[in-house]
């Protein structure tokens, strides 16, 4: 496999840079800084230091014995990103980007957030490094993820509600881009997923690849071989790409990305860009998008705010077209089943995003033999979702 993306950020037909001219010099400056520092020993050392001492890496690769036994199929391993500081994989990327922002002399960082996990991860590193931080969040998401909103505020970030459009993640990203275009000289935009204009999809993937690199090493130590299948949820797709990427050239390893099926793809109320969308251009890249006949972006739906986005990272679009990764969907209802099952059998409350991956893993494990192995990326913990889940289960908090 040739190394992707190409010089202009293309993954086959996808990716690229579709942004207003004002931002072109900014993303080119960022690309230059990233290419310089990504290979620099000082940067690598500092990144590794904070991942270990601050984030708490390596995260365990935990064998879910009871879940495995209950299903009677493949052995299930959980990559415990939920144990990262702040409770999700998002901080791997924000540490990387803020170290870059510092080296570029930026005084202010901005971010978009859906579930609030990326917002919290950004506010956290901004607090740690003493940079000003503003997070854009849709008003609907602010309502369903209020604990994270308070967390960001505690961390000193300004949380700006976005009431335009569908009032969720995509609109938060629009607003963050508007901020960036206005304050481009002093501001670093920390994008939370492997999407956006080049170099973001590449850079975020690289920062998150620690998930897959650790898993590979840990699994080898445990089993002395490679796993049979990797499973992760896909919204924008940063935890999945982080897990998949170090295994892409290992032909025997199957990979499945789980998209948010909402009420079911056929109902139109979903957030499954690959399974229910077609190629288009939004937020700086060409990729699969949920859109109407005329190319207008449609409101998406998922019980999980972090997956409620009409696009997907361009590398996923490419991996779908080449067939290297299989993309499936899991509905809200199925995700809740996964949520409950994992909680009861393993004592781990997963984020609703990760519950999508768990739910698919339950289906997949049953069909596989006992000698086969699955790694599921448990991208985040579920504390932030208790409000949503209690409502779904009819329990008053």
């Amino acid at each position: 496999m040739t190394k992707l993306p190409d010089r202009l950020g293309h993954f086959g037909a996808y990716g690229g840079r579709y942004i207003s001219e004002t931002l072109m010099p900014a993303v080119m400056e960022l690309e230059k800084a990233y290419l310089k520092w990504a290979v620099h020993p000082d940067f690598k050392k500092e990144f590794a230091y904070y991942l270990k001492e601050y984030v708490g890496r390596p995260t365990p690769l935990y064998c879910a014995e009871r879940l495995t036994k209950k299903l009677g199929g493949a052995r299930i391993f959980l990559k415990r990103e939920d144990l990262c500081h702040t409770g999700a994989h998002k901080i791997n990327n924000t540490i990387g980007q803020i170290l870059l922002a510092k080296r570029m002399g930026k005084k202010r960082v901005i971010a978009e957030t859906g579930a609030g996990q990326h917002g919290v991860a950004t506010a956290t590193v901004a607090a740690m490094f003493g940079l000003k931080c503003e997070v854009y969040m849709g008003v609907d998401d602010i309502k369903r993820q209020s604990p994270n909103v308070f967390r960001m505020k505690l961390l000193g970030a300004k949380v700006t509600p976005v009431s335009s459009g569908s009032r969720t993640l995509k609109d938060a990203m629009n607003e963050a881009l508007r901020d960036w275009v206005t304050n481009v000289y002093e501001t670093f935009y920390i994008i939370g997923t492997a999407a956006g204009p080049h170099p973001y999809p590449m850079m975020v993937r690289d920062f998150q690849s620690i998930i897959g690199a650790e898993s590979k090493r840990q699994f080898k130590d445990i089993a002395g071989k490679l796993p049979d299948e990797l499973i992760a949820c896909v919204g924008g797709g940063s935890n999945s790409l982080g897990l998949f990427h170090p295994f892409l050239e290992d032909k025997g390893v199957g990979m499945t990305g789980v998209e948010a099926g909402g009420d079911g793809v056929s109902t139109g109320r979903h957030a499954a860009s690959i399974n229910g969308g077609r190629p288009g251009i939004l937020h700086g890249n060409k990729t699969y998008l949920i859109q109407d006949k005329w190319g207008q972006i449609i409101d998406t739906h998922s019980i999980s705010a972090g997956l409620d986005y009409p696009g997907v990272g361009p590398e996923h679009a490419y991996l779908h077209d080449t067939g290297r990764v299989k993309y499936v969907t899991v509905t809200d209802k199925e995700a809740l089943f996964g949520f409950k099952t994992l909680t009861l059998t393993e004592g781990i409350i997963p984020a609703l995003e990760s519950a999508h991956a768990v739910s698919y893993a339950i289906k997949a494990a049953r069909k596989l033999g006992k000698n086969q192995t699955l790694i599921v990326c448990l991208s985040g913990r579920g504390d932030k979702d208790l409000q949503t889940v209690s409502k779904a289960f009819g329990y008053e908090l």
Binding site: R17, S20, E21, T22, M24, V181, Y185, G280, I281, G295
Partner: protein
């Protein structure tokens, strides 16, 4: 320079020692029937070139005024095909140059080839796509070129010499210099060093350079066009439209009056 409605308009103005007033409206706001009347009113009031916005669900480069305008147009069900149809109707009675202004996804979704052909058939003269920098413009450029349409590009205060050169190499019709770093919208004041940017752009390009973003008063229009080839006014016109959505007659009268005042301001010798 090729002989198009756009190039002829600039040549005519130059002969008279005048600058171009470029007026932006979103097609379909307040409804698509009004768009034809609005464009004819803009022309009668002194606009030299029209930028006709194709509404998009996610106008990332626009401020609240044009966002709201796009939303109103989309609520009325305005499609790219409706916009082309409006151009066709305008062409029956007017020769004013029309630039289709928008985001790439509706064009890409419609089909770049089909869009370019239909735009030509309808009588449009150029296309400006806010989120399509020179690097990604190859396919659209080729198709528009085949149909004799201009592809207009933006340059900004962040553009360095290299980007000015790159963009100038592919831009035709005119170059649109964004006078501020930010989104569209009426502003209290316009940037002061526009003249030095325009001079820099002219080192790389021989086509006209116009200035926009934030231009909202006759005085500002005069200021920015005095050091360039023209001024673009968008949000300030949309504000007038937004205030008169339910009264067609008053809408046209107010827009006409406002645009006349801009034109008068531009012709005034400062």
């Amino acid at each position: 320079m090729s002989d198009t409605r756009i190039s002829r308009a600039f040549a005519r103005l130059k002969d008279k020692g005048k600058k171009a007033l470029i007026a932006f409206v979103t097609a379909g706001d307040p409804d698509i029937a009004a768009t034809r009347e609005l464009v004819l009113t803009l022309e009668a009031s002194g606009a030299d070139i029209i930028e006709l916005g194709i509404p998009f669900s996610d106008p990332m480069a626009d401020g609240p005024t044009i966002q709201a305008s796009s939303e109103r147009a989309l609520k009325k069900g305005t499609t790219p095909e409706d916009v082309l149809d409006a151009v066709k109707k305008i062409r029956k009675t007017s020769e004013i140059p029309i630039v289709l202004f928008g985001y790439y996804n509706p064009i890409f979704s419609y089909g770049v080839k089909k869009f370019s052909r239909k735009a030509k058939e309808a009588g449009a003269d150029g296309v400006l796509v806010v989120d399509l920098p020179a690097e990604e413009a190859g396919e659209l450029k080729e198709e528009l070129c085949k149909n004799g349409l201009d592809l207009i590009f933006l340059l900004t205060p962040t553009s360095d010499a290299e980007r000015m050169k790159l963009t100038s190499n592919v831009a035709t019709g005119f170059i649109y210099f964004i006078s501020i770093t930010g989104v569209t919208g009426a502003r209290q004041s316009v940037s002061k060093n526009i003249s030095s940017y325009v001079k820099k752009i002219r080192c790389f390009s021989s086509i006209p350079v116009v200035v926009g973003f934030g231009v909202s008063t006759p005085v500002q229009a005069n200021a920015v066009s005095s050091c360039s080839d023209g001024a673009v006014v968008g949000s300030a016109i949309i504000n007038v439209i937004a205030a008169r959505q339910n009264d067609r007659k008053a809408l046209l009268a107010d827009v006409g009056e406002f645009v006349s005042s801009l034109k008068k301001g531009m012709n005034a010798r400062g």
